[in-house]
Symmetry: none
Subunit: 247 residues, 2 copies
């Protein structure tokens, strides 16, 4: 994420009780390109557990700001998102992290955005959720939907990063092959070579030969070989031929 | 996720060193509807730290299976996915978790699927990645891309659940095959056969041999051969051997 955009998205943890979760949240953020962390009345912070779990994200911890209430943590934000596990008595605008992420990025183009996570034990209160423009709910299992706090931070930050990369037309398709694919003609030469070896092996008589060659063709179609692979396979065929003809 | 589908997707942790990560991974899985966890040579397990971090997912820990090597953990799998943080020297089929998830679900409709996560410190080795049909890479920040192990499990399981909920599985990859896919073990027997033929051909000395065998492994991974294809290929290898030894 470009750093000015990332700087306008803060993650707010309300009354986290385990310092390990603070460190793990910092690490989760940094792996996804975010770094602005605000803590509201943390139970224990700073703490060696937080340091340890932050691993390579201690710089995020060093720049943490701490506030004594949520309103202060979000006072300059123009868009506030609250995460919630449950459906509430009064319906609010609510989206999955996937659908919320592009909207959060757009809001961050225009102002400060806060994404708030509640207490380990019981999340955000209704009053706190009422401060939000949007609620985000991770689609967890109905049998056991209780994500660890830092895990929830990881999922939301991951979605923010994916939305950012998609917006850049980037990297959601990380497949880059190192060699050019073989052309049809190169592959046909490989088949011809295979066929001539099969003939000299004389173990595939008649119709069986046709079936086997079709199966081989089907397999090579699935490989979509590159040019190096085609020439390697032909090299192997030649080596086998040499060995047989030496006989 | 429906439970029979979930039962065919196992999460494999290779040599996890922190029991806390095992517990956190179990919790991450359960929140996303998965429950089959396999540990390869865990450093400390069982352990109170694992119990504590598992929270409401202790039942997942109770049903963990532990193996002494990765091959054993995946022997009956027909589709094997390895997670990786880095680009490798030799390109392999690689997707983001988002693009991989629907494919993993489709494979799980037809057989056992293993999703493998490497060591906290240095991930999966090249040899371990070579056992995989597909590599999955979480699009993390280039400045700091090191996700905690359990966080990576959370992100991948989250994408599996999203794909399941979106119901994209069937529609995106209408996979209909007439024969069952070969298991990892059957394919390993094919490699052993190939290797012994290559040795008797004596045309691949030293390091070249290793490179060629890896390329062949990569190609066969892309084929995802069915049982008939594996026995056909082995029949061809035997025919070549007979011809050479007749010499």
């Amino acid at each position: 994420m470009n750093s000015s955009l990332a700087q306008r998205i803060r993650i707010v943890l309300v009354e986290p009780s385990h310092p390990g979760n603070i460190g793990a949240a910092a690490r989760a953020m940094k792996t996804m390109g975010l770094s602005k962390l605000v803590l509201v009345r943390p139970k224990r912070f700073p703490d060696p557990q937080a340091e340890w779990r932050a691993a390579g994200a201690r710089d995020v911890l060093e720049r943490v700001s701490t506030t004594s209430n949520l309103r202060e943590a979000i006072s300059d934000a123009t868009f506030v998102v609250g995460t919630t596990a449950r459906a509430r008595r009064m319906a609010w605008r609510q989206l999955s992290p996937r659908l919320a992420a592009p909207e959060i990025l757009v809001k961050a183009e225009h102002g400060e955005v806060a994404v708030i996570f509640g207490r380990e034990a019981d999340g955000l209160s209704n009053d706190e959720l009422d401060l939000c423009h949007l609620h985000v709910c991770i689609p967890a299992s109905s049998a056991y939907g209780s994500l660890n706090l830092a895990m929830a931070v990881q999922v939301v930050c991951y979605e923010l990063r994916c939305a950012y990369l998609e917006g850049q037309g980037e990297a959601m398709h990380p497949l880059a092959w190192d060699r050019p694919r073989a052309t049809s003609e190169q592959v046909e030469h490989l088949f011809a070579h295979l066929e001539s070896l099969a003939n000299s092996l004389e173990f595939l008589p008649g119709e069986h030969h046709t079936v086997v060659m079709r199966r081989i063709r089907r397999m090579i179609g699935r490989i979509e070989p590159d040019v190096t692979e085609v020439s390697m396979l032909r090299g192997i065929l030649s080596a086998i031929e040499k060995q047989i003809h030496r006989a």
